[in-house]
Each structure stands twice: as structure tokens, then as C-alpha cells.
């Protein structure tokens, strides 16, 4: 499949790239390209101008700073997978990057692009909802941060203006006694999630849930926050009964549509089951981390 013709420019600074976006209303930004090039081949997108940001230096970093894990726009999924900082401190993010598409795609695909593409079937949106992340977007007026809850506006639609580029994703540095997990049900490696569930939580000194985030993948027009499940668990010491209730609420609050991956009923039930399992795994990890601290 051959994409439609386009002009190709590779600016070397963010301001240059932003200026180009300002000059061309239908231009698209190319980072990992693993979604964009595919939709261009299907001619679902026919941008007249491609702005390749891969040659912009200083967008490839993963570092903790001022209470946030900062991930630059050109960080690939494979970089996240191989980061010992992420593996040790951000198990939810590590889980997620390891199940995006397949290893070859992950060598190019970026976290920032995964969010900017705003496909509800992508894995990171739910994870970033669970983390309560921030998206840093740079436009003609400089850089602003967008709360993840305000970022996904609709199907393939974000709060970004046409002239803005996602330059950084920020994940809060986890507090002590915290843990997370991402579980994805997929028919085979490389497929989009039938259902995915992201959980991030932390416990207070009395082992009650202090803060919790639960995000759901591919069961709505955007990734969904399982708000009632979060509200149920916040402030409580989690037990099996509460976990079962939280799973049930998530199943009720999602909005899956039937497709080749399953019926609506099946997907709701899988949301219920995976929510329970992700909660259990997040709790197990929280406890394991605590044990390590005391040793």
C-alpha cells in the first residue's frame, strides 16, 4: 500500500516544528510513526506535509526531577522497557510498555505518540489515567501542561491545538507504599487489547488506600477512568469483597462495543475480572516493595 504524496520536512528544533505546524493546517507530526504511517498507507490520513521530529535533539530522556518522572517525546517503548528506573519504581508503566504491539514496533513507537494518537485501543492512555499524569505540550506561546483527565477529548481527539506538539509526559514519582499493574487481554501478540486495565495505588500507614487510579483500555471512545471503583476503595483497607465490588463497578461503568474481539457482555466481564486481578497485583507489589524497604 502506497501513501498519498506529501512533502517531508525534518526540523531540528521544537520551535521550528511548531512554526511549520502553524503554517500548514493539515500537517502531521511524525515521531515513531507506527500508527501514523499505517493510517497513511490505508489513506485514512493524507496529510500534505509530514513534520518529522526524530531529528530534534534533547527529546530522548527518562529522568526524575521535581517530583515527576519526565519522559521526553522521542523515548521509545523499548527504552522504557530497558530502563531500570522504570522497571524498579514504575511497574505499571513497565508492564504497559512491554505489551504495546510487538518488540519490533516497540523499537520505534513512542509513549508521547501513543497518547497523542488518542486511540482508545492504545495501552498508555489508561495507564496515564491511573497515574494521574501530565502531558506537556509546546506551541507558539511556549509549553503548557494538560492534566491527563482533560487530554482525551474523543475518538482520536485530544486537547492539543493544531500547533502544539507533545514534548514530555510526566508521571508523579511514587510515594512510599505504592504499586501498580497493567493487565491486557489480547488475542495474540501485536493485537490491540480486547480489554486492558491499569491500576496504581498507594497505602497510608494504616494500610488503607490513600490514592488510587484505575484506567480502562478499549472499552469506550476514549480510555476511561473507573471513577466509582476508585471512590469505593479510597480510604479503605482493601479486602476480597471490596475488590470484587470494584470489579463489578468498573464493568458497569465501561462502554464497550461488540466487535471481532468479543461481545459487549464478554468485554464487560473481562473488565470485571482484569480489574480484580490488576488490583491484587498492585497490592502484592505494594507489599513486596514495603518488605524490601524494611530489609
Amino acid at each position: 500500500m502506497i501513501p498519498a504524496q506529501f512533502e517531508y520536512l525534518a526540523p531540528t528544533t521544537v520551535p521550528e516544528a511548531v512554526a511549520l505546524l502553524g503554517q500548514h493546517a493539515d500537517a502531521k507530526v511524525l515521531s515513531g510513526g507506527q500508527s501514523l504511517i499505517t493510517v497513511m498507507k490505508f489513506r485514512l490520513a493524507m496529510p500534505p506535509l509530514i513534520i518529522d521530529i526524530n531529528g530534534i535533539p534533547d527529546l530522548n530522556y527518562i529522568r526524575e526531577q521535581d517530583g515527576w518522572l519526565r519522559i521526553g517525546a522521542l523515548v521509545r517503548e523499548s527504552d522504557i522497557d530497558e530502563s531500570t528506573l522504570v522497571r524498579d519504581q514504575y511497574p505499571l508503566l513497565h508492564d504497559t510498555s512491554r505489551v504495546v504491539a510487538d518488540p519490533l514496533v516497540r523499537n520505534l513507537a513512542t509513549l508521547a505518540g501513543n497518547l497523542a494518537h488518542a486511540d482508545p485501543a492504545n495501552d498508555h492512555p489508561a495507564t496515564m489515567l491511573a497515574y494521574r499524569a501530565l502531558v506537556a505540550a509546546t506551541g507558539p506561546q511556549g509549553t503548557r501542561t494538560i492534566k491527563i483527565d482533560d487530554f482525551f477529548v474523543g475518538l482520536f481527539e485530544t486537547a492539543l491545538t493544531h500547533e502544539e506538539i507533545v514534548t514530555e509526559v510526566r508521571v508523579p514519582v511514587p510515594t512510599p507504599r505504592s504499586g501498580g499493574a497493567y493487565l491486557k487481554l489480547e488475542r495474540k501478540v501485536g493485537d490491540f487489547a480486547t480489554v486492558g486495565v491499569a491500576v496504581q495505588l498507594n497505602l497510608d500507614a494504616g494500610s488503607r488506600v490513600q490514592q488510587i487510579g484505575i484506567g480502562l483500555t478499549n472499552v469506550g471512545v476514549t480510555a476511561i477512568r473507573a471513577r466509582r471503583s476508585e471512590d469505593l476503595l479510597r480510604g479503605k483497607a482493601i479486602d476480597e469483597r471490596l475488590i470484587a465490588q470494584a470489579g463489578q463497578l468498573a464493568a458497569e461503568d465501561c462502554a464497550p462495543s461488540a466487535d471481532l474481539r468479543g461481545s459487549e457482555e464478554y468485554k464487560r466481564n473481562m473488565v470485571r475480572v482484569l480489574t480484580m486481578r490488576a488490583l491484587n497485583r498492585a497490592l502484592d507489589r505494594t507489599k513486596a516493595q514495603e518488605k524490601e524497604r524494611h530489609q
Binding site: Y8, I37, K41, S78, D102, P103, L104
Partner: protein, 164 residues
Amino acid sequence: MTQKITVNLNGADTTAEVEPRLLLVHFIREVANLTGTHVGCDTTSCGACTVLLDGKAVKSCTLFAVQANGRKLMTVEGLAQDGKLHPIQEGFHEKHGLQCGFCTPGMMMTAYALLRKNKAPTDDDIRWAIAGNLCRCTGYVNIVEAVKYAADKMSEPAAAGGAA
């Protein structure tokens, strides 16, 4: 409108005028005339088009040739040296790692990238690494054996080979 690109392809610079929309796999097959790299699904699923871009295994059907400008590209034709099969190629031969052979170039490039990072991969490591390469003859068992054969061969002291 075309753009001039220079790609270091298997060690030699290749320069061409290409349209920006030319996919990297078509550049390799139709401009550089190296047809070992295959087009399978053409939708980023099968991995038959896998090549190494600056040492990383990527699907060349989902990159534009202009993105490879100034970079190093290695295809299956870059494996054998001086008429001698690379241990990975030898492994696929010895262990019957192919039936129809369509996925083989991609499998070998992914294996090459794996073995550069992990000299002694377990079965699980290999299966994880080739998860983006599909073999529709379902010959995965022998493919894993072939990669292990190559790993063993490459870790032999003599494997450096060639020079005195």
C-alpha cells in the same frame, strides 16, 4: 517532488532520489535491488520486512526511506561475509528453521539484534524477541533451535573466525 538520500546499506553508501512517500522496504527492494527483505502483510504485523536501522530491528514497511537518510541499515544480505554463512544462517540450515522461507529473512534479522544484546538467550527470551515475526508454516520450535544453535556457535572462542 523527490529528495536525495544517502543510506549506509550493509556497509556501503547508497544514494538515490526518492519520493518522501517511498517506504523503506520498497527502497531496499526496488531501488537498492536487494530482494531478500520481504513484503508480507504490509500492515506492521508479520515482520517479514524486518531490517536493522542503526542496530535496532524494525519493520521496514512502516518507515519512509527518507527517515533512513544518513543512517545505517542492515538487511539479510549483510549477514554472510566473504561467501561464508553467518552462524544465524547456518543455524536455520542445520536446525531446519524454515519451511517455505518467507519469514526467514525477518526472523534472522530479529535474531541478529537479539544475539547482539543477549549472548545466551533462553527459549523464553527468543520467543519474546520474535513475537513480532510470524511464521505461517508454524515452524517456531525449529526457529528457536536455530537461534540457540547460532548463540552457541557465536560464543565459541573460535567464532571470531577469519583472522589468524
